[in-house]
Amino acid sequence: MVHLGRIGRWAFFAFIALYLAIPMVAVILYSFSARWTSNILPDAYTLAHWGEAFRDERMRNAFWRTTWMAIAVLLLDIVLVVPAVYWQRVRNPKIRVFAELSAAIPFVLPFIVIAFGILKFMGRSAPQMLGTPLIILLSHAAIAFPFLYWAVDGAMAAANVGRLNEAAVVCGASPLQTLRHVILPNISSGLAAGGMLVFATSFGEFALVQILAGSRFENISLYSLDLLLNTTSQVELMAVLTILMFVVLFGISVAVVYLNRGREGGFLPGSRALVTEKNE
């Protein structure tokens, strides 16, 4: 590796920070600008766009729709993935191949291809589903679950779930009790990291919503595109929207990092122990 001096390191850091920050700063400035001509900063500032954005019912609806959908997708994926991975690890390692293959699909196929596949399939088998929130929920859950799968699988490996499970079983715990009192608390960091990715995937998703529901389920991405296509004067609104999305996702990431600070194994006190254990 190239060895940078102290100054070099700071310069490098500053460059990266600027590179990341400038677009955000520009968007923020833009959202407050009354007029922005050829100067480096806006000619005049206003709160009008923010006011407009919050008054705009269409936008509020889009934001709300997107948020609850992302939460629903997250919950559905947790309910599907966690017991499945647990089962695979403690009872039936053979389903692993199947699980890993299906968890690889969304990484291999572009979302747009998946969307067309679902469209074709549903068009033939259940056309009345198209355009409903349910189809969005199911398809988002399907494309986002691998993030949770890999994160949870890794966390379970690190927490040595097989051994924890046996210890719980000989204590008389049922599978559900084991999952709730022993497994979940020890994989919480993986759950949080994977869950965040699932949330973000649904939150910013465009292709599936566009193809499977279109204007019948206008989420933030669709709404943003509409703003861009319609009139130039709406671009400031778009800036407001971008900032809001950023704040939501950034807020969640910070929360995840904060909750996991200094811990390898999980949120809860003590959950680090298994990770640092040297046995076997």
């Binding site: 210890a167 715990a173 020890n186 006190p269 122990a273």
Partner: protein, 350 residues
Amino acid sequence: MTRSSSGGVSLSGISKHYGAVRALDDVSLEVAPGELIALLGPSGCGKTTLLRSVAGLEKPDSGRVVIGGRDVTQDPARKRPIGMVFQSYVLFPNMTIRDNVGFPLRMRGASSDAVRKRADELLALVGLSEQADRYPHQVSGGQQQRGALARALAPEPEVLLLDEPLSALDALVRVRLRDEIRRIQQMVKITALYVTHDQAEAMAIADRVAVMNAGKIEQLDAPAALYDEPATSFSAGFVGNRNALELPVVNGVVRLGEALTANAPAGSGGRVVAFFRPEDVHVGQGGEAATIENVSFQGLLTRLHLSVPTGGEPARLWADLPSRNAAGLQVGGSVPVRIDANHVRIFPAE
């Protein structure tokens, strides 16, 4: 804390295969109520598999498991009246020691007052009261195993199963905790199966020791009997750090020069294996002249590695003698050795 009495364990005809590997071969074992039996044997002989079959963590291909008079062969592990301590610490890392100990009771729906009372009682029993509110990673390995023991005892199981509970600990802690486990087991009067590959540990802790080899129990005896009277050549070789010499039989007599003369057991062929402990080799009291190959001072005792000439390949053996009698013995020197025939166990060579 004291209880009426825990039941016994009765295993009959337990077999278990993993593919072509025969981990357990028609094992039967009766553990009396309140008795501690150590399962002793080399790595891979099936100790863990047998213990896990009792626990219900492994499903044997055939055989019956009866605990406290109840046939539990078909019951899943969580329905069996057992408590188990594993080799590596598996206290739940997300719970304090006290919550770990109370866990089996909470899972059975006990009230939180009752759980706490019983947990504190057990923590006092295993000497962990002061660490009750710590998390497992905040206590030592030995303390974690004490916690695991308390947790296993919490629901008053019929039988306590321990799978090499001390093997991850260092020697000093190991001996102390071993005695502690024995004390608690006797105090609670619980039936116990204790897996170990350490013969000293098995002898020290058990009422009876089951020596296992290749999926079978070779011998089941009290420690002293096992030590003095190994029933098979495997137990003779495995227990007591014995010398093992393969010797020819001539006219029904086994002989190593002037050092040993003994009758061959009935049915032995042309060759036998003679097992004898190093303290039963007498040095400097007549017998056959042996060459000293090595002298190693071990405190109270000194161990000599000796080579006794025979017709062909010399016989190599070791002898332990009190260090005060070993003064003046030099490597390369020659001493007369004699093996006490009363303490030699002879088995047909395989």
